[in-house]
Symmetry: C2
Subunit: 118 residues, 2 copies
DNA sequence: GCTTGACCTGGAGCGCGCTCCAACTTCTAC
DNA sequence: GTAGAAGTTGGAGCGCGCTCCAGGTCAAGC
């Protein structure tokens, strides 16, 4: 909510129509756009670039190529990010395995320790 | 570099030994740890949690389980993040396809437009 | 009529993760 | 020996993306 107003302020979304009481009333189209925006945000696209994309929208099909360009770059970035995360994932797997080995070793020693303190 | 000093200040890495001139000289072990830290950062783990993890390291094997716990949670988070990114990826694919269709449609119309202005 | 609660406004504040600064020392090359 | 690069320090500053605040307006329920 605060975020929507923030997006509106920075020109990321068009001011929606208001109801009789002056409240914002988002159309289906607005909501679709907001949904796409949050998708872009999730991919880590900086707000600034999203603003650029939003600005281009006003020019209709004549800006289609520029907008596609932005999305293509973002897609590449996302793919790289996924690859990066998968690398990290295998590092995590390795570390976790290590800890499990440590735990098993400790489990082997514990009964002895218990005897010693018995 | 500034980042390493920052990490040192907040206790994420141990102060490394210094050379004769007072400069930091990171051991292989230091570097390994730093490497793992940047892996964790890449996964989006907040610094605060990394500090907690670093703190636990001091207790040796007795903290193995807690540390494993942290890594397990992070692994889950990373997997979810990857899934999320893949969702976004297909949205991007869809949008990009759309733009390509728009371009093709424009390409079909352009020759006519050229004739019109000729 | 009156409370309550959700929304409105402009603007300030915040948490994160660095990143830069000025002033200083130290090593390196010429 | 001297200039310049590359480190050192504590501390301030910054960009991002919200998020909260005080004070006001409006609509609905009792």
């Amino acid at each position: 909510m605060d975020t929507l107003r923030y997006y509106e302020r920075i020109g990321l979304i068009e001011p929606p129509v208001r109801d009789s009481g002056g409240r914002r009333s988002y159309s289906e189209e607005d909501l679709g756009w907001v949904g796409f925006l949050s998708c872009l945000r999730m991919t880590g696209m900086p707000i600034r670039l999203m603003c650029e994309y939003a600005r281009l929208r006003h020019f209709g099909t004549s800006s289609a190529t520029s907008r596609k360009e932005i999305l293509l770059e973002q897609r590449t970035a996302v793919r790289e990010r996924i690859a990066e995360l998968q690398m990290c994932l295998s590092t995590l797997d390795y570390k976790i395995d290590n800890y499990e080995m440590v735990e098993r070793r400790v489990a082997e020693l514990t009964p002895l320790a218990q005897e010693a303190t018995a």
